[in-house]
Amino acid sequence: MSIIEEHEIALTQTTAAQPKMRTSDKLFPIALLTPVLLFFIILNVVPTLWMLGLSFYKFTLMSLDPPKFIGLDNYIRIYNDPSFWHGFGRTFRFMVLAVAFETVLGGAIGFLFWGSANMPGRRVALTMLFAPMIITPVASGLFYRLIYDPTFGVANYLLENVIGYKIDFLTNVRWAFPAVLFVDIWMWTPFMILMTLAALGSVPKAEMEAAEVDRLSWPQRFRYVILPHAKFILMLGILLRTIDAFKTMDLVFLMTNGGPGSITELIAVALYRYAFASLNIGFSSALAVLLLIVAIAFTSVYLYILNLRRSSEAPTG
């Protein structure tokens, strides 16, 4: 019997044995998936569908009236109210500016630390750089509220000594938004440093050495060697930050409460107010559904990019 014939017989035996395995094949994955599916259904699917359902109701906790089905009225109200459009616009502006600054700064600092494994004090420097990311947004918000205080704050003390006047960072309509944005950048640039270091770590040394031997300039090395390897992790970082920046609430709430007026009233702050201050459950559910749709859109982009990565890494031929 040739080797090929033996192989064929073995294959036939395996195929013949398959029906016996099928029942356990079916049950085993289900058994493995059941806990996580239950978890997913109870904590994710049910609340989401519940919220979706409530968004079609007029329902407030502060009334004896039972929930009343009003169709799309809550959505129409949001559509007709310019303050929500302003809120969305403000949120997008915050998100784009924050992520852009964090990416550029984080990328630049990450590059500076690239290949500095033997640099004395590297760990201490990185630990200090990452510290803002570890502090909770609530604590950061409170710290900066005090730092920015026009009467007692250290920032204004320094400003007055350097430029001779003070700035009402959190109550001035021109300064409040940049002041809050700065804190977000301060908090989350370390995250982009981390992502940049991870991305640069994925660049093969051999290719960098080859680029050096070929005397590629740094822009060329960046474009043809570093970026192709690093872009997926960097994109992941950017997308995670984008989603996170879109739902920023705690920092703003602590620092300005959305003020002065509505200058820093991001959409998540408005949602909080309707849901937990007014207890207007139906309306806030509609607003939350809209936020969810935007978040899903971002997540889709993220999944699309991950799929791109997977297909680009898949063996060809």
Binding site: V45, V46, M62, D65, P66, S83, D168, T171, G259, S278
Partner: protein, 518 residues
């Protein structure tokens, strides 16, 4: 095993997700129906409140007697306002209550507190009450919350407890106490709250600066009249006259400012500080009977009042548009301002040891009223106790006992010793009260009928307040510059909120949806 492999064994990912979604829809639909059903059920379903004022033998609303709580142990949780000292005092005195309950009724009671800042306490408590929880057996509510708490039946009607315990139904110093801390709806006789800490508005001044001979000479040289230095001179002073004093002490070059007035977007800070400007000059914020807001809040009188309020920013320090209660205490006690328009209840903190004998507290200065005479109608502060309607019988008895203990002369005396303020006629009119603290006299003056006024106790107060605070703060900070447009915006939005809630037939003006302040 990959999902792909799983698919080959007859259960696809799509099928899995479809099943999950179907299960989710099923569960959520049944849940929603259940929730709807629950919401439709009669509220206030607590066993004790159902009993109403029935004077039956063992009604929990009567509190404990010698036998029905003997040997039992009760744990009570009280919701209090974080950072607001008057609402912490009952917690400090809780061991006294435990001893009192043990001695009088033979049961053990432990009291724990759960706290949150002014704006957040309601948000913390309300969802628990909506779930008919007894997480908070009783709590210190703000006066504006009465409607929101009473309407869904979350709290016990105070009248039911008073009917069974007339000894705690003390005569208040003025109708203001009853109207602010107890009544809902406005104008009715229904009482829901029990006065805990009354409060009203005044101004704290640096008496040591007023008494400085150099300052007096400089003021007289500038204005041709002596600098007022006594309470009597300030009690009937108008805002115009007071402005001269404030302007005299306003020294921005020295980083020392004439005054400080709350304008923060936080909670009701701006609103309460502005209301006297409107009320005292003949304005109103709504008609409580018809719930008309449009054409009342945005009246010409109120436009002038709002402009006048903002004009006072010229005597305040940087960042004044963000001043809240705590900022005012810091500014005043750290010597950054000559005066501060402040709640009189925080006197203990406005006058630390270093400033003892150096501070004069006066009523809010007067405005020229609609009849041309000086007039002041300040805003009311302060809080009532409210009792959870879902308490079980033992908890309810302990809560009622706590109220009985709270209103004893001995406990009230301890409360006042620790910085609390009285509200009963007997206590406010007691000999020596006006001299008991530097702010007691001004407090009593502002607590007199006609000198202060509270605002809406409507269940939609939080939504109305959020609209108002944001727009007012926008005006204070310069985001909006047209006082009329700001008031039009607030009035339209608030009218829409009430109309939408179905508590008024008065519709908001046409096109209110797209209205924006300018």
């Amino acid at each position: 095993m990959s999902i792909k492999k799983l698919g080959s064994t007859s259960l696809t990912r799509r099928q899995l997700l479809r099943s999950a979604a179907a299960a989710g829809v099923g569960i959520s639909a049944s849940g929603l129906l259940a929730a709807c059903g629950g919401a439709a059920a009669p509220a206030g379903g607590g066993s004790a409140s159902d009993a109403g004022a029935d004077a039956g033998a063992d009604n929990p609303l009567a509190g404990s007697n010698e036998t029905n709580m003997q040997g039992k142990t009760v744990a009570l949780t009280i919701g209090v306002i974080a950072g607001w000292p008057p609402s912490q005092i009952p917690i400090d005195l809780a061991p006294d209550f435990a001893a009192w309950a043990k001695e009088k009724f033979g049961y053990d009671v432990t009291i724990s507190k759960s706290e949150a800042p002014f704006a957040a306490l309601f948000q913390k408590v309300a969802p628990t009450l909506a779930a008919k929880s007894t997480e908070f057996n009783m709590f210190i509510s703000d006066s504006q919350w009465l409607g929101a708490l009473a309407e869904p039946g979350w709290i016990v009607k105070a009248d039911d407890i008073y009917a069974l315990n007339p000894e705690i139904d003390l005569e208040p110093y003025s109708d203001l106490v009853r109207n602010t801390y107890q009544i809902y709806p406005d104008g009715s006789d229904n009482r829901w709250g029990f006065p805990q800490m009354p409060d009203d508005q005044g101004v704290y001044l640096r008496l040591d600066m007023l008494e400085d001979p150099e300052e007096q000479a400089a003021f007289e040289a500038k204005y041709g009249k002596p600098l007022p230095t006594t309470y009597e001179e300030y009690e009937n002073m108008t805002m115009d006259e007071f402005e001269e004093v404030v302007a005299h002490f306003h020294r921005p070059d020295e980083e020392f400012y004439g005054t400080a007035i709350m304008q923060s977007k936080e909670y009701d800070f701006f609103s309460c500080a502005w209301h006297p400007y409107a009320y005292s000059t003949g304005g109103a914020i709504w008609d409580p009977e018809t719930q008309q807001i449009w054409d009342i809040l945005n009246s010409d009188n109120n436009v002038k009042a709002l402009e006048e309020f903002k004009r006072w920013q010229q005597y305040q320090g940087p960042g004044s548009a963000d001043y809240g209660i705590g900022d005012m205490i810091d500014l005043f006690t750290q010597g950054k301002v000559f005066s501060a328009f402040q709640w009189l209840a925080v006197g203990l903190f406005m006058i630390p040891d270093e400033l003892k004998g150096k501070v004069l507290a006066i009523p809010h200065p007067k405005f020229i009223g609609p009849d041309g005479n000086p007039n002041i109608i300040g805003a009311m502060g302060g809080q009532p106790w409210v009792v959870n309607a879902f308490n079980d019988d033992d908890q309810m008895r302990a809560c009622v006992d706590l109220l009985k203990w709270w209103y004893t002369d001995e406990t009230q005396a301890k409360f006042l010793e620790r910085g609390g303020l009285p509200w009963s006629k007997a206590a406010v009119e007691a000999p020596g009260f006006e001299e008991s603290t530097p702010y007691a006299r001004a407090f009593k003056y502002m607590l007199s009928d006609g000198n202060s006024q509270d605002f809406w106790h409507h269940p939609k107060y939080a939504e109305m307040l959020a609209v108002q605070q944001e727009a007012f703060n926008g005006y204070a900070t310069g985001q909006y510059t047209d006082a009329k447009a700001v008031l039009d915006f607030i009035a339209a939005k608030q009218q829409a909120i009430l109309f939408d809630a179905g508590t008024t037939d008065i519709a908001p003006p046409e096109g209110y949806e797209s209205m924006q302040p300018a």
